[in-house]
Symmetry: C2
Subunit: 291 residues, 2 copies
């Protein structure tokens, strides 16, 4: 099979072709512009590629309710031109194939469960911590949706006792995204995170917030793997610090060896690395094709 | 069909017989004693009742992993005699019928989705707020488990600015259960909640903690219904206060009419009232029977 995959980010789009084994055979990338321009590039790329299905993992929020008249639309993003745009419908009119459609983080969770760090498991959560914070949830072998889709970047966390930063979330101020996304690090410390040394106190504070959120999702959902991706998580020193914060917060309550003694292989980077997003879109496309 | 149902609580057991329409035709109740004594009562009740299956919704934590050698056991409860007890196996040796086995709160969520406040929906969360705080999660038409089962009573919440109470959770001190369970109310105010007037400041504080946790589960899982049960929720004045706290915390972020304008029918008491637990066990039994 030839499956099309679209990783639609707020900054750039990645399109590719893959097969049923998760192998990506071709890819292109271009900046995210106004939707008509961007989707024209997407359509040009897939024209004459003879794909059997296309999977889309996209920035959001998006309408994922198949019974809704605006199914497939981007909803309330501040991104110019994209609010209310019929993203899925535009592609459906161009290509008469089955489409998979979900958030970028749900797609990444799905790809990781199929070919990555959660391979063979029926549950995992996928965090991206970068320009924003997003959470994909895979439970009982299914991607989770409800009224809308998970927006776990906006959970409230307790404030670090030495942190006076107000937070940058326009809705909640100091929710997880408001305190721990890349732009929050930059605004709090006055320089981009990438310029801070690995032993800068910024990282202990970052681990404090992320570890608290991860401990919360562990008690709530008991996922079999916690995967932390996104630009901020390229700071590898964060992993042991976050694991320690999770154990401090849980304090032995979740009495399972995976958490108590196996945490180094429980809270991990994406097994697919920076391919998690595109591979996830490929997995959505495969599922749409019935595979 | 004749389905057996067991609602196993830390204080009392309720056993009953029901049919495929959710009608409970007979029931008995007795105090929870040592496990051998209690299970003897259960076995005596179901003897000669000719049930086609039995569903069990129980206090926990319990082992719900079918591949585990201790599947069906109670795990780490401080309740005398119950830690490590083979609850399910004892009944399987007495009755050669299919068994459903899950937590009391997952059972209640399942029953509410089948016959109660979430009827016809493919997702809901069920909170019990009483002696402890438990959360059942039903998503994408399935009860959610993972490494273990949800233990959402132990999420951390931010402290109410006027609350100096340390909390009663032996693991976390001031987690949700530590601050909002019935015994926390009693210890904080010096009298049982039932003796406080409906306009006592205790209830605004209670709504502060519950509303914060519910807002958190809404961003994380986007459930189609939030059901609040348990003894503390018999204080009906809490419902409008909790709804207001949820909206204050979300601050318009979850842009769905159900949350923005329909919240009175979104955050609700159990549709099955105090039958939610036993009906949930009945639903588990029906599912075990393939119905």
């Amino acid at each position: 099979m030839r499956i099309g995959a679209i990783e639609a980010g707020g900054t750039k789009f990645v399109c590719g072709i893959g097969n049923e084994n998760g192998v990506i055979e071709d890819r292109v990338s271009f900046p995210t512009e106004l939707p008509e321009t961007t989707l024209r590039h997407v359509i040009d790329y897939f024209q004459n590629k003879q794909v059997d299905a296309i999977g889309i993992g996209t920035f959001g929020p998006i309408d994922i309710d198949p019974s809704s008249p605006t199914y497939g639309h981007v909803t309330t993003t501040p991104k110019p031109g994209w609010g209310g745009y019929d993203f899925l419908g535009t592609l459906q009119r161009a290509f008469n194939v089955p489409f998979g459609w979900d958030t970028d983080v749900n797609a990444a969770a799905f790809g990781e469960a199929k070919w990555g760090a959660a391979q063979g498991l029926d549950s995992c959560v996928y965090y991206t911590i970068g320009t924003g914070v997003g959470v994909g949830v895979y439970a009982e072998g299914k991607l989770v949706h409800g009224l809308l889709h998970p927006e776990g970047g906006h959970v409230l966390t307790r404030r670090h006792p030495e942190d006076a930063f107000a937070g940058i979330c326009p809705y909640h101020g100091d929710c997880l995204e408001g305190m721990a996304a890349g732009p929050a690090i930059e605004k709090r410390w006055g320089v981009r995170g990438g310029e801070l040394s690995p032993d800068h106190p910024a990282w202990a504070m970052e681990a404090f917030y992320i570890g608290q959120a991860v401990a919360g999702i562990i008690v709530l959902l008991s996922p079999k793997k916690v995967i932390l991706g996104g630009g901020v998580m390229h700071q590898e020193q964060l992993f042991p610090m976050i694991r320690a914060e999770v154990q401090r917060n849980l304090n032995g309550y979740v009495a399972h060896g995976t958490v108590l003694s196996g945490i180094d292989s429980y809270i991990v980077p994406p097994g697919l690395g920076d391919n998690a997003g595109l591979s996830g879109a490929l997995a959505l496309g495969l599922a749409a094709a019935g595979r």
